[in-house]
Protein backbone atom coordinates (compact mmCIF):
# COMPACT_ATOMS: atom_id res chain seq x y z
CA UNK A 1 0.00 0.00 0.00
CA UNK A 2 1.41 3.43 -0.87
CA UNK A 3 0.50 4.91 2.53
CA UNK A 4 2.61 2.29 4.35
CA UNK A 5 5.58 3.02 2.11
CA UNK A 6 5.32 6.75 2.72
CA UNK A 7 5.11 6.18 6.48
CA UNK A 8 8.10 3.84 6.62
CA UNK A 9 10.12 6.21 4.42
CA UNK A 10 9.35 9.02 6.87
CA UNK A 11 10.35 6.85 9.83
CA UNK A 12 13.64 6.03 8.14
CA UNK A 13 14.29 9.70 7.41
CA UNK A 14 13.68 10.61 11.03
CA UNK A 15 15.45 7.66 12.67
CA UNK A 16 18.55 7.25 10.48
CA UNK A 17 20.29 10.46 11.64
CA UNK A 18 19.71 9.40 15.27
CA UNK A 19 21.28 5.93 15.07
CA UNK A 20 24.69 7.08 16.30
CA UNK A 21 23.13 9.01 19.21
CA UNK A 22 20.83 6.15 20.15
CA UNK A 23 23.74 3.72 20.13
CA UNK A 24 25.89 6.06 22.23
CA UNK A 25 23.10 6.53 24.77
CA UNK A 26 22.40 2.78 24.88
CA UNK A 27 26.11 2.07 25.50
CA UNK A 28 26.15 4.51 28.41
CA UNK A 29 23.02 2.89 29.84
CA UNK A 30 23.94 -0.77 29.33
CA UNK A 31 27.75 -0.44 29.57
CA UNK A 32 28.08 -3.20 27.01
CA UNK A 33 28.27 -2.72 23.25
CA UNK A 34 26.56 -5.98 22.30
CA UNK A 35 23.68 -5.35 24.63
CA UNK A 36 23.50 -1.73 23.50
CA UNK A 37 23.08 -2.85 19.89
CA UNK A 38 20.30 -5.24 20.94
CA UNK A 39 18.57 -2.43 22.82
CA UNK A 40 18.76 -0.08 19.83
CA UNK A 41 17.49 -2.84 17.51
CA UNK A 42 14.54 -3.47 19.79
CA UNK A 43 13.91 0.25 20.17
CA UNK A 44 13.79 0.72 16.41
CA UNK A 45 11.44 -2.24 15.97
CA UNK A 46 9.11 -0.94 18.67
CA UNK A 47 9.23 2.60 17.32
CA UNK A 48 8.52 1.43 13.78
CA UNK A 49 5.51 -0.57 14.96
CA UNK A 50 4.23 2.34 17.05
CA UNK A 51 5.04 5.02 14.48
CA UNK A 52 1.35 5.37 13.63
CA UNK A 53 0.77 6.81 17.10
CA UNK A 54 3.60 9.34 16.80
CA UNK A 55 2.24 12.87 16.48
CA UNK A 56 4.09 14.53 13.57
CA UNK A 57 4.39 17.95 15.21
CA UNK A 58 6.01 16.62 18.38
CA UNK A 59 9.68 15.91 19.03
CA UNK A 60 10.64 12.63 17.37
CA UNK A 61 14.01 12.50 19.12
CA UNK A 62 12.40 12.75 22.57
CA UNK A 63 9.84 10.12 21.55
CA UNK A 64 12.37 7.55 20.37
CA UNK A 65 14.77 8.24 23.28
CA UNK A 66 11.84 7.58 25.61
CA UNK A 67 11.30 4.21 23.91
CA UNK A 68 15.04 3.50 24.17
CA UNK A 69 15.02 4.22 27.90
CA UNK A 70 11.97 2.04 28.52
CA UNK A 71 13.54 -0.74 26.47
CA UNK A 72 16.67 -0.53 28.59
CA UNK A 73 14.70 -0.48 31.85
CA UNK A 74 12.93 -3.71 30.89
CA UNK A 75 16.18 -5.39 29.79
CA UNK A 76 18.04 -7.70 32.17
CA UNK A 77 20.69 -5.07 32.88
CA UNK A 78 18.06 -2.39 33.34
CA UNK A 79 16.11 -4.48 35.84
CA UNK A 80 19.30 -5.25 37.77
CA UNK A 81 20.26 -1.55 37.76
CA UNK A 82 16.82 -0.52 39.01
CA UNK A 83 17.51 -2.41 42.25
CA UNK A 84 20.03 0.28 43.08
CA UNK A 85 17.95 2.95 44.75
CA UNK A 86 18.80 6.50 43.86
CA UNK A 87 17.87 8.91 46.57
CA UNK A 88 16.23 11.45 44.33
CA UNK A 89 16.56 14.72 46.18
CA UNK A 90 18.16 13.53 49.37
CA UNK A 91 21.67 14.41 48.35
CA UNK A 92 21.54 18.04 49.29
CA UNK A 93 23.25 20.46 47.00
CA UNK A 94 24.98 21.94 50.01
CA UNK A 95 27.08 18.78 50.42
CA UNK A 96 28.45 19.23 46.95
CA UNK A 97 28.62 23.01 46.97
CA UNK A 98 30.83 23.01 50.02
CA UNK A 99 33.58 21.29 48.08
CA UNK A 100 33.34 23.33 44.87
CA UNK A 101 36.78 23.75 43.36
CA UNK A 102 37.86 27.02 41.88
CA UNK A 103 37.21 27.55 38.15
CA UNK A 104 40.97 27.42 37.57
CA UNK A 105 41.19 23.93 39.04
CA UNK A 106 38.44 22.71 36.77
CA UNK A 107 39.99 24.19 33.64
CA UNK A 108 43.13 22.13 34.22
CA UNK A 109 41.31 18.82 34.38
CA UNK A 110 38.93 19.58 31.48
CA UNK A 111 41.80 19.10 29.04
CA UNK A 112 42.11 15.50 30.18
CA UNK A 113 39.52 13.55 28.20
CA UNK A 114 40.31 10.30 30.00
CA UNK A 115 39.72 11.96 33.38
CA UNK A 116 36.40 13.32 32.13
CA UNK A 117 35.32 9.94 30.84
CA UNK A 118 36.31 8.35 34.14
CA UNK A 119 34.36 11.01 36.03
CA UNK A 120 31.30 10.40 33.86
CA UNK A 121 31.71 6.68 34.54
CA UNK A 122 31.66 7.31 38.26
CA UNK A 123 28.57 9.49 38.30
CA UNK A 124 25.46 7.79 39.69
CA UNK A 125 23.46 6.57 36.65
CA UNK A 126 20.49 8.96 37.06
CA UNK A 127 22.87 11.95 37.18
CA UNK A 128 24.90 10.68 34.24
CA UNK A 129 21.76 10.03 32.21
CA UNK A 130 20.34 13.51 32.66
CA UNK A 131 23.69 15.12 31.88
CA UNK A 132 24.10 13.10 28.68
CA UNK A 133 20.63 14.10 27.50
CA UNK A 134 21.29 17.76 28.26
CA UNK A 135 24.94 18.27 27.28
CA UNK A 136 25.56 15.55 24.70
CA UNK A 137 22.14 15.30 23.06
CA UNK A 138 21.42 19.01 23.60
CA UNK A 139 17.82 18.36 24.58
CA UNK A 140 15.57 20.93 26.19
CA UNK A 141 14.50 20.40 29.81
CA UNK A 142 10.89 19.77 28.78
CA UNK A 143 11.95 16.95 26.44
CA UNK A 144 14.23 15.45 29.09
CA UNK A 145 11.32 15.58 31.53
CA UNK A 146 9.21 13.59 29.06
CA UNK A 147 11.94 10.99 28.55
CA UNK A 148 12.62 10.53 32.26
CA UNK A 149 8.98 10.87 33.29
CA UNK A 150 9.77 13.48 35.95
CA UNK A 151 8.77 17.14 36.42
CA UNK A 152 10.90 19.86 34.81
CA UNK A 153 11.93 21.06 38.28
CA UNK A 154 13.46 17.67 38.99
CA UNK A 155 15.35 17.80 35.69
CA UNK A 156 16.67 21.21 36.62
CA UNK A 157 17.90 20.20 40.07
CA UNK A 158 19.26 16.88 38.85
CA UNK A 159 21.34 18.56 36.13
CA UNK A 160 22.69 21.03 38.65
CA UNK A 161 23.61 18.22 41.06
CA UNK A 162 25.15 16.18 38.26
CA UNK A 163 27.44 19.07 37.33
CA UNK A 164 28.46 19.64 40.91
CA UNK A 165 29.22 15.94 41.33
CA UNK A 166 31.24 15.97 38.12
CA UNK A 167 33.22 18.99 39.32
CA UNK A 168 33.95 17.20 42.55
CA UNK A 169 35.16 14.11 40.70
CA UNK A 170 37.40 16.25 38.52
CA UNK A 171 39.28 17.70 41.45
CA UNK A 172 42.86 16.46 41.43
CA UNK A 173 42.50 14.33 44.58
CA UNK A 174 38.87 13.46 44.02
CA UNK A 175 37.40 10.53 45.85
CA UNK A 176 34.32 8.63 44.82
CA UNK A 177 31.04 10.44 44.66
CA UNK A 178 28.83 9.57 47.62
Amino acid sequence: MPSINVQSATFEELALPLLVSLYNQACWLARNRTEAEDIVQETLSKALRAFGSFEPDTNFKAWIFCILRNTFLTSRTGIAASRTVFLEDQAAASEMAAADPSPEEIVIRLDDLAALEAALDELPPPLREVLLLCDVEEMKYKDIAIILGVPIGTVMSRISRARQALRQLLQPQAGKVQ
Binding site: S8, E12, V107, I159, R163, L170
Partner: protein, 258 residues
Protein backbone atom coordinates in the same frame (compact mmCIF):
# COMPACT_ATOMS: atom_id res chain seq x y z
CA UNK B 1 19.03 33.85 41.95
CA UNK B 2 16.40 35.71 43.88
CA UNK B 3 17.39 39.32 43.46
CA UNK B 4 19.40 41.11 40.84
CA UNK B 5 22.12 41.78 43.36
CA UNK B 6 22.33 38.17 44.67
CA UNK B 7 24.91 35.77 43.38
CA UNK B 8 23.72 32.96 41.11
CA UNK B 9 23.06 29.79 43.09
CA UNK B 10 24.30 26.54 41.49
CA UNK B 11 20.87 25.62 40.10
CA UNK B 12 20.26 29.06 38.59
CA UNK B 13 23.76 29.04 37.13
CA UNK B 14 23.23 25.63 35.59
CA UNK B 15 19.85 26.65 34.18
CA UNK B 16 21.35 29.88 32.87
CA UNK B 17 24.08 28.20 30.82
CA UNK B 18 21.47 25.82 29.36
CA UNK B 19 19.40 28.84 28.27
CA UNK B 20 16.43 27.49 30.22
CA UNK B 21 15.80 30.37 32.62
CA UNK B 22 12.60 32.32 31.96
CA UNK B 23 13.33 35.39 29.80
CA UNK B 24 13.07 37.83 32.69
CA UNK B 25 15.34 35.79 34.96
CA UNK B 26 17.80 35.28 32.10
CA UNK B 27 17.98 39.04 31.58
CA UNK B 28 18.42 39.65 35.32
CA UNK B 29 21.22 37.08 35.40
CA UNK B 30 22.96 38.81 32.49
CA UNK B 31 22.75 42.16 34.26
CA UNK B 32 24.20 40.61 37.41
CA UNK B 33 27.03 38.95 35.49
CA UNK B 34 28.03 42.31 33.99
CA UNK B 35 29.07 43.47 37.42
CA UNK B 36 30.01 40.30 39.30
CA UNK B 37 33.45 38.90 38.56
CA UNK B 38 32.95 35.85 40.79
CA UNK B 39 29.70 34.74 39.09
CA UNK B 40 31.13 35.50 35.63
CA UNK B 41 34.02 33.14 36.41
CA UNK B 42 31.59 30.49 37.63
CA UNK B 43 29.57 30.80 34.41
CA UNK B 44 32.71 30.52 32.31
CA UNK B 45 33.78 27.44 34.22
CA UNK B 46 30.32 25.86 33.97
CA UNK B 47 30.19 26.53 30.22
CA UNK B 48 33.60 24.89 29.78
CA UNK B 49 32.47 21.91 31.84
CA UNK B 50 29.33 21.59 29.70
CA UNK B 51 31.37 21.65 26.48
CA UNK B 52 33.86 19.14 27.88
CA UNK B 53 31.01 16.84 28.97
CA UNK B 54 29.60 16.97 25.45
CA UNK B 55 32.99 15.90 24.05
CA UNK B 56 33.50 13.11 26.55
CA UNK B 57 29.90 11.96 26.25
CA UNK B 58 30.27 11.15 22.54
CA UNK B 59 32.30 8.13 23.56
CA UNK B 60 30.69 5.18 21.85
CA UNK B 61 30.58 5.16 18.06
CA UNK B 62 29.06 2.21 16.24
CA UNK B 63 31.27 0.34 13.81
CA UNK B 64 30.18 0.52 10.15
CA UNK B 65 28.95 -3.08 10.50
CA UNK B 66 26.83 -2.22 13.54
CA UNK B 67 25.49 0.85 11.79
CA UNK B 68 24.59 -1.20 8.73
CA UNK B 69 22.74 -3.75 10.90
CA UNK B 70 20.86 -0.98 12.70
CA UNK B 71 20.03 0.75 9.41
CA UNK B 72 18.59 -2.51 8.13
CA UNK B 73 16.12 -2.50 11.06
CA UNK B 74 14.65 0.71 9.72
CA UNK B 75 13.19 -1.15 6.76
CA UNK B 76 9.99 -2.91 7.73
CA UNK B 77 9.95 -6.65 7.05
CA UNK B 78 7.80 -7.41 4.04
CA UNK B 79 4.39 -8.42 5.29
CA UNK B 80 3.23 -11.83 4.11
CA UNK B 81 0.57 -11.27 1.53
CA UNK B 82 -2.83 -12.00 2.84
CA UNK B 83 -4.68 -14.50 0.78
CA UNK B 84 -7.53 -12.78 -0.92
CA UNK B 85 -10.69 -14.49 0.11
CA UNK B 86 -14.09 -13.29 -0.80
CA UNK B 87 -16.80 -14.58 1.42
CA UNK B 88 -20.24 -13.13 1.11
CA UNK B 89 -19.76 -9.69 -0.39
CA UNK B 90 -22.36 -8.24 -2.57
CA UNK B 91 -20.31 -8.99 -5.58
CA UNK B 92 -21.37 -6.13 -7.85
CA UNK B 93 -20.94 -3.21 -5.49
CA UNK B 94 -17.80 -4.48 -3.83
CA UNK B 95 -16.32 -5.47 -7.17
CA UNK B 96 -16.78 -1.98 -8.55
CA UNK B 97 -15.35 -0.46 -5.37
CA UNK B 98 -12.31 -2.74 -5.50
CA UNK B 99 -11.79 -1.95 -9.17
CA UNK B 100 -11.85 1.78 -8.43
CA UNK B 101 -9.29 1.36 -5.64
CA UNK B 102 -7.14 -0.80 -7.87
CA UNK B 103 -7.25 1.83 -10.60
CA UNK B 104 -6.27 4.63 -8.23
CA UNK B 105 -3.51 2.50 -6.67
CA UNK B 106 -2.22 1.56 -10.11
CA UNK B 107 -2.12 5.19 -11.21
CA UNK B 108 -0.26 6.17 -8.02
CA UNK B 109 2.13 3.27 -8.39
CA UNK B 110 2.68 4.11 -12.07
CA UNK B 111 3.53 7.73 -11.18
CA UNK B 112 5.82 6.53 -8.39
CA UNK B 113 7.57 4.08 -10.70
CA UNK B 114 8.06 6.78 -13.32
CA UNK B 115 9.63 9.17 -10.78
CA UNK B 116 11.72 6.37 -9.30
CA UNK B 117 12.89 5.16 -12.69
CA UNK B 118 13.76 8.67 -13.84
CA UNK B 119 15.91 9.30 -10.76
CA UNK B 120 17.58 5.87 -11.00
CA UNK B 121 18.28 6.39 -14.70
CA UNK B 122 19.78 9.84 -14.08
CA UNK B 123 22.04 8.49 -11.32
CA UNK B 124 23.13 5.57 -13.46
CA UNK B 125 23.86 7.84 -16.45
CA UNK B 126 26.14 9.95 -14.30
CA UNK B 127 27.82 6.88 -12.81
CA UNK B 128 28.44 5.41 -16.26
CA UNK B 129 29.91 8.73 -17.39
CA UNK B 130 32.49 8.50 -14.58
CA UNK B 131 33.43 4.98 -15.72
CA UNK B 132 34.07 6.07 -19.29
CA UNK B 133 37.73 6.00 -20.24
CA UNK B 134 39.19 9.49 -20.26
CA UNK B 135 36.70 10.78 -17.69
CA UNK B 136 38.98 12.53 -15.22
CA UNK B 137 37.46 13.85 -11.98
CA UNK B 138 38.02 17.53 -11.26
CA UNK B 139 39.77 16.69 -8.04
CA UNK B 140 41.87 13.55 -7.78
CA UNK B 141 42.80 12.73 -4.22
CA UNK B 142 42.48 10.04 -1.63
CA UNK B 143 42.79 12.63 1.12
CA UNK B 144 39.51 13.81 2.62
CA UNK B 145 41.24 17.00 3.73
CA UNK B 146 41.87 17.79 0.07
CA UNK B 147 38.53 16.69 -1.33
CA UNK B 148 36.22 18.39 1.16
CA UNK B 149 37.80 21.87 0.95
CA UNK B 150 37.69 21.69 -2.85
CA UNK B 151 33.91 22.04 -2.66
CA UNK B 152 34.10 25.31 -0.71
CA UNK B 153 32.41 28.00 -2.73
CA UNK B 154 31.17 25.45 -5.23
CA UNK B 155 28.26 24.06 -3.23
CA UNK B 156 25.64 25.83 -1.11
CA UNK B 157 26.15 23.23 1.66
CA UNK B 158 28.93 21.35 3.40
CA UNK B 159 29.45 17.74 4.42
CA UNK B 160 31.91 15.52 6.24
CA UNK B 161 33.99 12.72 4.79
CA UNK B 162 34.81 9.69 6.91
CA UNK B 163 38.35 9.11 8.02
CA UNK B 164 40.13 6.33 6.12
CA UNK B 165 39.98 4.15 9.24
CA UNK B 166 36.19 4.57 9.37
CA UNK B 167 35.70 3.31 5.81
CA UNK B 168 34.65 -0.31 5.28
CA UNK B 169 37.50 -2.74 4.50
CA UNK B 170 39.15 -2.37 1.08
CA UNK B 171 37.29 0.89 0.36
CA UNK B 172 39.03 4.08 -0.74
CA UNK B 173 38.24 7.61 -1.81
CA UNK B 174 39.54 8.34 -5.32
CA UNK B 175 38.34 11.82 -6.13
CA UNK B 176 35.37 14.08 -6.61
CA UNK B 177 33.41 16.09 -9.11
CA UNK B 178 30.84 18.84 -9.01
CA UNK B 179 27.71 17.69 -10.74
CA UNK B 180 24.01 18.44 -11.08
CA UNK B 181 20.98 16.25 -10.83
CA UNK B 182 17.31 16.91 -10.32
CA UNK B 183 18.27 20.48 -11.28
CA UNK B 184 20.46 21.18 -8.26
CA UNK B 185 24.18 21.13 -7.52
CA UNK B 186 25.55 17.96 -6.00
CA UNK B 187 28.86 16.62 -4.77
CA UNK B 188 29.88 13.49 -6.66
CA UNK B 189 32.35 11.45 -4.63
CA UNK B 190 34.22 8.64 -6.32
CA UNK B 191 35.13 5.63 -4.24
CA UNK B 192 36.33 2.13 -4.93
CA UNK B 193 35.27 -0.96 -3.03
CA UNK B 194 37.59 -3.84 -3.92
CA UNK B 195 37.93 -3.14 -7.66
CA UNK B 196 34.42 -1.77 -8.14
CA UNK B 197 33.82 1.92 -8.83
CA UNK B 198 31.24 3.63 -6.63
CA UNK B 199 29.59 6.99 -7.23
CA UNK B 200 28.16 8.80 -4.22
CA UNK B 201 25.94 11.83 -4.75
CA UNK B 202 25.32 14.32 -1.94
CA UNK B 203 22.60 16.94 -2.23
CA UNK B 204 20.80 19.20 0.16
CA UNK B 205 17.80 17.41 1.55
CA UNK B 206 15.80 20.63 1.70
CA UNK B 207 16.06 20.90 -2.09
CA UNK B 208 14.96 17.31 -2.69
CA UNK B 209 11.27 17.54 -1.94
CA UNK B 210 10.48 14.35 -3.79
CA UNK B 211 12.59 11.97 -1.71
CA UNK B 212 11.46 9.26 -4.04
CA UNK B 213 12.48 5.85 -2.75
CA UNK B 214 15.06 4.33 -5.08
CA UNK B 215 14.80 0.82 -6.48
CA UNK B 216 17.47 -1.50 -5.08
CA UNK B 217 18.82 -2.21 -8.54
CA UNK B 218 18.68 -0.62 -11.96
CA UNK B 219 20.08 -2.22 -15.11
CA UNK B 220 22.15 -4.59 -13.00
CA UNK B 221 23.67 -1.85 -10.81
CA UNK B 222 23.03 -1.58 -7.07
CA UNK B 223 21.45 1.61 -5.78
CA UNK B 224 21.18 2.80 -2.19
CA UNK B 225 20.16 5.98 -0.45
CA UNK B 226 20.14 7.54 3.00
CA UNK B 227 19.28 10.88 4.53
CA UNK B 228 20.70 12.95 7.35
CA UNK B 229 19.09 16.10 8.78
CA UNK B 230 20.69 18.17 6.00
CA UNK B 231 21.78 15.80 3.27
CA UNK B 232 20.46 13.21 0.92
CA UNK B 233 23.10 10.63 0.01
CA UNK B 234 22.68 8.36 -3.02
CA UNK B 235 25.02 5.58 -4.09
CA UNK B 236 25.43 3.67 -7.36
CA UNK B 237 27.79 0.80 -8.11
CA UNK B 238 28.05 -2.71 -9.45
CA UNK B 239 29.48 -3.87 -6.11
CA UNK B 240 27.31 -6.11 -3.95
CA UNK B 241 24.56 -4.24 -2.05
CA UNK B 242 25.90 -5.16 1.42
CA UNK B 243 29.27 -3.50 0.72
CA UNK B 244 27.54 -0.49 -0.80
CA UNK B 245 25.37 -0.10 2.30
CA UNK B 246 28.43 -0.25 4.56
CA UNK B 247 30.06 2.60 2.66
CA UNK B 248 26.82 4.57 2.80
CA UNK B 249 26.56 3.95 6.54
CA UNK B 250 30.10 5.26 7.11
CA UNK B 251 29.18 8.47 5.22
CA UNK B 252 26.00 8.88 7.28
CA UNK B 253 28.00 8.32 10.44
CA UNK B 254 30.57 10.94 9.37
CA UNK B 255 27.86 13.60 9.11
CA UNK B 256 27.22 13.36 12.85
CA UNK B 257 30.90 14.00 13.62
CA UNK B 258 31.93 17.59 13.97
Amino acid sequence: MNQRTDHLDPEALSTFIDGELPAEAQQAARLHLNGCHSCALQVLSATQLKAATARAGHRFTPTPETLARLSATLHPQPQPKKTARIYSFRAGAWGAFAAAILLVASLLAWRQIRQTDALAAELLDQHLATLASGAIPQVISTDRHTVKPWFQGRLPFSFNLPDTSALPPDSALKGADLTYFEGQPAALLLFTIHKHQVSIFLTQQANSPLLTPLPKTHAGFSLASATTPNLRILAVSDVNPADLNLLLASLVSAQSNN
